[in-house]
């Protein structure tokens, strides 16, 4: 344990892990309750296109990924809002298209395949000091936004139509939520990987949902599960010499299964007692 901490790469990975665990867990609460899991996966895969463009242009891929993900997230939102294409259809189209764009662009430029593997599946070694700062900055932006717009995001998640009727700018708030998902994906991708990041957004919140009927408690439990999974997963990945993304995601899945087994919601449903009061 102690020796792991002495390596610079491990310190950076753990610090990044703390931010990733907290941010994914917080944003995940909205994603789970609003039924946006598929959007999360779609945006995550879209980041591959952004990373590829970064490689080609010789810019830090996280920067291009931020811009690209925001564009795709808002694009999905805009197309779905017009109502002519269903949201899941829009995601299905963008999902594949952006992935394909990434593969095409990478194919045009040789020699980066090894780095690319880290982006796809996450790597404990991949977090450079610049990446860490970028993750900190994005994490602060996401958490501060949630802090300021706490009641607004709760309202559009609970009942978007009512949010609009009570006078909140529900449409714009939905775009804010999409942007938060995009930023969360990008700040997590170095450690967790593009392919696995949506699981880290959804699973801690899904575990917390099983354990409480209070929104704030759900967020706190989700953060606890997220931090446990990222920090625990990174340490396990170091000791077992396994991929960091996969280890983190499997650990959070284990947490979810335990929560499911302990769930008062599930027990109540099983025993058939309808409701108190």
């Amino acid at each position: 344990m102690a020796e792991a901490i002495h390596y610079g790469f491990m310190q950076r990975a753990l610090l990044a892990g703390l931010i990733i665990g907290a941010v994914c867990a917080v944003v995940g609460v909205y994603v789970v309750l609003r039924g946006m899991s598929f959007i999360g996966a779609g945006i995550a895969h879209a980041s591959f296109g952004g990373v590829a463009i970064g490689f080609v242009l010789g810019v830090n891929p996280m920067v291009t990924a931020v811009l690209f993900c925001l564009l795709v997230a808002w694009g999905i939102g805009a197309v779905a809002r017009r109502g002519e294409v269903r949201e899941d259809t829009a995601i299905g189209v963008f999902f594949a298209a952006t992935m394909a764009l990434g593969i095409l662009v990478i194919g045009l430029t040789r020699g980066y395949q090894v780095d690319l593997y880290a982006y796809l599946f996450g790597s404990i070694l991949a977090v450079s000091p610049a990446d860490l700062w970028m993750s900190v900055a994005l994490g602060v932006v996401v958490l501060a936004t949630v802090g300021v717009l706490f009641k607004e995001l709760l309202s559009i998640t609970f009942d978007p139509e009512m949010a609009e009727v009570t006078g909140l700018p529900a449409g714009r708030l939905h775009y804010v939520l999409l942007a938060l998902i995009a930023l969360t994906v990008v700040l997590s991708m170095k450690v967790v990987g593009i392919v696995l990041v949506s699981a880290l957004i959804v699973t801690p919140a899904a575990a917390a949902y099983q354990l409480t009927e209070d929104f704030r408690k759900m967020m706190a439990l989700s953060v606890a599960a997220g931090l446990f999974a990222t920090v625990g997963g990174l340490l396990l990945s170091y000791w077992l010499n396994t991929g960091s993304g996969a280890t983190i995601v499997l650990l959070t899945t284990a947490v979810f299964l335990v929560a499911l087994a302990l769930s008062p919601r599930r027990r109540r449903r099983r025993s058939g007692t309808p409701d108190a009061g």
């Binding site: 717009l149 609970f158 139509e161 009512m162 949010a163 009570t166 006078g167 309808p274």
Partner: protein
């Protein structure tokens, strides 16, 4: 009462969507302090009508006035409208407490990025007292019965101190006793001066509490006092194949199609 400006005033309102017409030439008005029941079969355009009044759907033709203004231009005045939407399934499992949901009714008034003030907490508490759910304030939504949940949503609508209440099928899936309690609650709110428009497909209960009944099946087929609106005519509007030949004014006699099956409790509309 009738000399005053109507709270809700629709004239020849038509709403066309891409593939169908939801409402056609609807004219109706609700005066201050009145309870209007809008009945009609599923898909008759009742919810569309409410959305027109809320300003979220604009009519293709015709004029709409709520408090004398076009609903989408109400701006700040929108708070004068309280809305209880049709029950949606996802919400019943949402991990949030009654007091949080009621407070949501004031979010627009509080303003983006701000926290509720003591005054907001008082208003939310008042709304809970009014509908008799103060003892449930800490209760999570998933633990409520159907009737309690509807009263919570009514309290949310009341939290912004509205002058007009719009309710969309408020008692669907709620048992008869809870439904009766709910309408008694509406009676009380109306006698406190709140104007109410309630949409329902349950003619029996609604007619017993309404000042007037409008029957909509894409077009407005009936609009009158509950006792004028005899069950046969309402049923024709609800289920009849040629409902459009009915019109405003005296209720024409009409034979109800044989595919209509009445439950005993629905036979008398005027209680």
């Amino acid at each position: 009462m009738n000399e005053a400006q109507p709270t809700v005033d629709l004239r020849d309102v038509t709403v066309e969507f891409r593939y169908h017409t939801a409402l056609e030439d609807i004219s109706l008005h609700v005066h201050p302090g009145e309870l209007l029941a809008v009945v009609g079969p599923n898909g008759a355009g009742k919810t569309t009508l409410l959305k027109v009044l809320l300003g979220t759907i604009r009519p293709t033709r015709g004029t709409v006035r709520v408090f004398g203004r076009e609903p989408w231009r109400l701006g700040e005045q929108r708070r004068r409208i309280g809305y209880v939407p049709q029950r949606t399934t996802g919400i019943s499992n949402f991990p949030v407490r009654v007091r949080d949901v009621v407070m949501m009714g004031r979010y627009g008034r509080i303003g983006v990025g701000r926290r509720p003030s003591p005054e907001d907490h008082e208003a939310a508490q008042r709304a809970m007292d009014r509908v008799g759910i103060a003892h449930l304030r800490e209760e999570p939504i998933p633990r409520l019965s159907g009737g309690q949940r509807q009263r919570t949503f009514l309290a949310r609508a009341l939290a912004s101190d509205p002058e007009l209440l719009l309710l969309d099928e408020p008692t669907t899936g709620v048992d008869i006793l809870a439904s009766e309690t709910f309408y008694e609650l509406l009676d009380r709110l109306r006698s406190n001066g709140i104007t109410i428009l309630v949409v329902s497909h349950d003619i029996g209960v609604v007619a017993a509490h309404a000042d007037s009944v409008a029957c909509i099946n894409q077009r407005l087929t009936l609009h009158g006092r509950p006792e004028e609106v005899k069950s046969g005519a309402v049923l024709a509007c609800m289920y009849g194949p040629h409902a459009t030949f009915l019109d405003h004014g005296p209720v024409p006699h009409m034979v109800v199609g044989e595919h209509v099956h009445l439950r005993p409790d629905e036979k008398d509309g005027d209680g």
